[in-house]
Amino acid sequence: MYSEKVMDHFMNPRNVGEIPDADGVFQVGNPVCGDIMKIYLKIKDGIIVDAKFKTFGCGAAVATSSMATEMIKGKPIEEALKLTNKAVAEALDGLPATKMHCSVLAEEAVKGAIEDYYKKHGINKQVE
C-alpha cells in the first residue's frame, strides 16, 4: 500500500534528530491521536540551512517528516512557506487516502517552526 519511496524514507529517514540551538521549533499532534511530529530549523539570512525532525507515528508520518525536511533544506523561508502537504505526498509518489492527514502534519509542523522563528527573532510576520 505504501510506495517504494515512502518505504525508503521510512526505513532510511533523512534528517532525524534535534538541533540543540534551533532558531525555530514546533510540535504538532498529540500522543492520544497516535501521531506527534516535532521539527527543528536552523535559519541563517532568511535561508533554512538545516532541518531536523522527531516523529512518533505511522510509516507515512515518518516518511513525510523525512521528505518535508529534505524539501525545505537550503531553501529561503518564503519558499518553505509554500510547501503543501500535497507536494510532500507527491514527492513520495503518493500516499494512501487514509494517510493524507499525516502529510498535513508535516506542513503544519514546518509552518509552525517558521512562525516560532519569527516570534523568537522579533520578526513581525504572519504565517497563515
Binding site: 505504501y2 518505504m7 521510512f10 526505513m11 529517514p13 532525524v16 534535534e18 510540535q27 500522543p31 492520544v32 491521536c33 497516535g34 501521531d35 506527534i36 511530529m37 516535532k38 525532525f53 522527531k54 516523529t55 512518533f56 507515528g57 505511522c58 510509516g59 508520518a61 515518518v62 494512501p96 487514509t98 494517510k99
Partner: protein, 391 residues
Amino acid sequence: MEKIYLDNAATTPVKKEVLDEMMPYFSEKFGNASTLYSYGRESKKALDIARDRVAKALGADPAEIYFTSGGTESDNWAIKAAAYALREKGNHIITTSIEHHAVLHTCEYLKKQGFKITYLPVDEYGLVDVEEVKKAITDQTILISVMYANNEVGTIEPVAEIGEIAKERGILFHTDAVQAVGHIPVDVKKLNCDMLSLSAHKFYGPKGIGALYIRKGVKIHPYMHGGGQEKGRRAGTENIPAIVGLGKAIELATQNLNQSMEKLTFLRNKLINGLLNKIDHVKLNGHPEKRLPGNVNISVEYVEGESMLLSLDMKGICASSGSACTSGSLDPSHVLLAMGLPHELAHGSLRFSIGEQNTEEEIDYVIQVLPDIVARLREMSPLYEKAREGK
C-alpha cells in the same frame, strides 16, 4: 526472504489434508445438495459427514449445527434474529465492551431500532466480571452475548458461569467462539450456551464458511430467507467444498488439541518472556494465564504500532497492531481502551498470534530483531526523548 507468519488470529492457511478433501467437490462431485438425484446425493452425504464432525467437536447434536458464510454472519444471525424473535418479550441485550465488531456493530444497529444495549466493562486483563452480568440483567433482558476468547488480547472469558446465570434467568445466551474453536476445548453443554459462532479460516479451514450452533428448542428467525436449505433456517445453495473443509479442519483441530495447546503455550511464553526481558517499557496486554495458547499482545511505550509492523514486515515478520494508524480509523483498539490502557499505549500495541506451523527458531528470530526495531523507532520519537529527559 522466508516469511514468518505470526498473524494466525487474523486468518490461517488451509491445511493440505483439508484442501485435499475439498478438491473433488469443486468440479466433479459438484451437484446441488438439495437435488435428489445422483450428483446431488454425493453432495448431501458430504454435507452430513461435515455436520457430524462439527457437532462432535462441539459436543452438540448434528441437528443443532447450521452452516453460514463465516463468523460475521453467525454473529449477525444469532444476535439480530434473537432480538427480532423476542422483541415482544423485551428489548434489552447485554454484551461486553471487548466484543468483535461483528457483535458490537450489530448491537449498535439494533440500538438504532429501539433495543437497549448494556456493554459490560472489563478489568485491566480484559476479563468480564460475572457479578456485573448479574447486575445488568433486567426483566427486559432477552439476550446475553459474551465472547469466549478475545481476538486481540487472547483473554478467555468465564463463559460457562455466565451461561449458567443466563440459563437460571431464562435468558438466551450466545457466545462468539470464533477465536476459541480449534484452539481451546469447546463444549456447548459445559458452556451452557444457546448459540455459538465459529469460523473455519481461524483453524486452518477455508474462508467464507462458518457455523452457528443453535440449541434444540431455541427459536430465532432465519437470517437468510429463500430456499429450504438447512431445514429452512439458512437459505442458499450449500457451499459443499467449503463445508467439507470446515468439517475436516475442525476434526483435525480437535484431534490434535492437547498437543497443539502445549506447543503453542510454550512458544507463547517464550516470546512473551523474551520480549519483556529484552525491551524496557514494555507491557503484556491481556490475562497472564487465562489466555489463548497462541496469543501474545504487548504495548511498547513511545513507539507507534504501524511503524513497528512495517519494520517487522521488512524483516519478513507478519504481525498486527491495535494502533489507529494501522486500521485507518481514528481510535485505537476498543479492546485495549476498554481495559483502561491510555491511548498512547494502545497505539503502541503489537499482536503476535502463533500457529501450529510456527517454529521455535522463528520465535527466537522475533526476539532477536524486535529490540533493534524498537530502539531505532525510539531514536526518532519525540516522546522517548522526553521520557529520558524526565528521568
